[in-house]
Symmetry: C5
Subunit: 96 residues, 5 copies
Amino acid sequence: MLISKVIGSTVSTVKNENLIGCKLLILRQADETGKPFGKPYVAVDTLDAGIGDLVLTAHGSSGRQTTQTKNSPVDAVIMAVIDHLSVGGQVSYRKE
Amino acid sequence: MLISKVIGSTVSTVKNENLIGCKLLILRQADETGKPFGKPYVAVDTLDAGIGDLVLTAHGSSGRQTTQTKNSPVDAVIMAVIDHLSVGGQVSYRKE
Amino acid sequence: MLISKVIGSTVSTVKNENLIGCKLLILRQADETGKPFGKPYVAVDTLDAGIGDLVLTAHGSSGRQTTQTKNSPVDAVIMAVIDHLSVGGQVSYRKE
Amino acid sequence: MLISKVIGSTVSTVKNENLIGCKLLILRQADETGKPFGKPYVAVDTLDAGIGDLVLTAHGSSGRQTTQTKNSPVDAVIMAVIDHLSVGGQVSYRKE
Amino acid sequence: MLISKVIGSTVSTVKNENLIGCKLLILRQADETGKPFGKPYVAVDTLDAGIGDLVLTAHGSSGRQTTQTKNSPVDAVIMAVIDHLSVGGQVSYRKE
């Protein structure tokens, strides 16, 4: 799973029928302190995550292992909202 | 999913039998403003997307989760045409 | 799918039993003009492609969605030989 | 599989129901001497690995081939704790 | 598939039960002349490959398409030992 920060949202009228009602958020991968890096990508949100949240995303066929994404053409899903991260015995990130 | 811009098309006479009638477009990944970067790749278009459209693409086995791509040797599909993208509360891209 | 150029071939005596009779070619990814870049990789050829051909390759489990590669430990297959590519309304590559 | 070093842990209250009771650790890929490099990622621990351990991780759908991760939206699992690594006939890493 | 050179081996006492008796080798990706590059990774050996051999590896779910790796949490398998590689009509690598 990737540690990622939710930075935005997408709107699409023309889309695959399985995606109707599906919330597609824009994310960037982040490090253990929550600092984002790299290019944006899009994942399905099944946990009502908000902009600015640090989350974990599962990719590939694993992105389809939720009730909402099963059998859909999606390859990334938010499967956890991070409360805190610890590295080397120290809290490196804590949700505000 | 990747945010990608449709930049061209491909023509192949010799191809896997499951791809007959399948529209294969050339794309480049794009950022949240729609600016393309990186090398071109090819995805199946099931939504009648046009050159210049910003779209979302699903990859790997997720690219086979549509009626048109099921059981075919394809690993990327356009599953949404983007109307607009918002980042940090601002519209970063809007379809013309 | 990746646009790739066929650059060579492989010979293996010791191999998985499912690969007996399977043609394994060496390719390099290419851009929309057919110019190769990056490191070589190997894909199964099910279309009798030749050295120098520009082709499309499907990867991961999608590489197993052909009669020849089903249930085999292979993760890339040539599924189309490219006749021509068009970018921005111009032909960027044409097979000789 | 990737050689990776366990560097930390994650805590999430809001998560997919299949992840309840699931231990999610933070890792960084490592070389054959155990030296970590690159950005952190997260994997499910099914082997009671500890911080500082060098482990092997399986990715993608292979990350779901354990009793604990089956049918869950997870794409990486720790499937071995490394005792030692040998390269070129020499021990390059030994667990302390 | 990736062209890779076998450079070493791993020993693990604590591991997933499906991996008992499974030979896990350390490899580095190689070019068409057999010259290795990049960081090491680990694959299951089902062909009794030796240190120094140039091999082909299949990744992801394709790594599980052998009798030994079926249903196991492994994402890479050696599926061919290379005798020789030809690029541009010339032998670029030959096994000694």
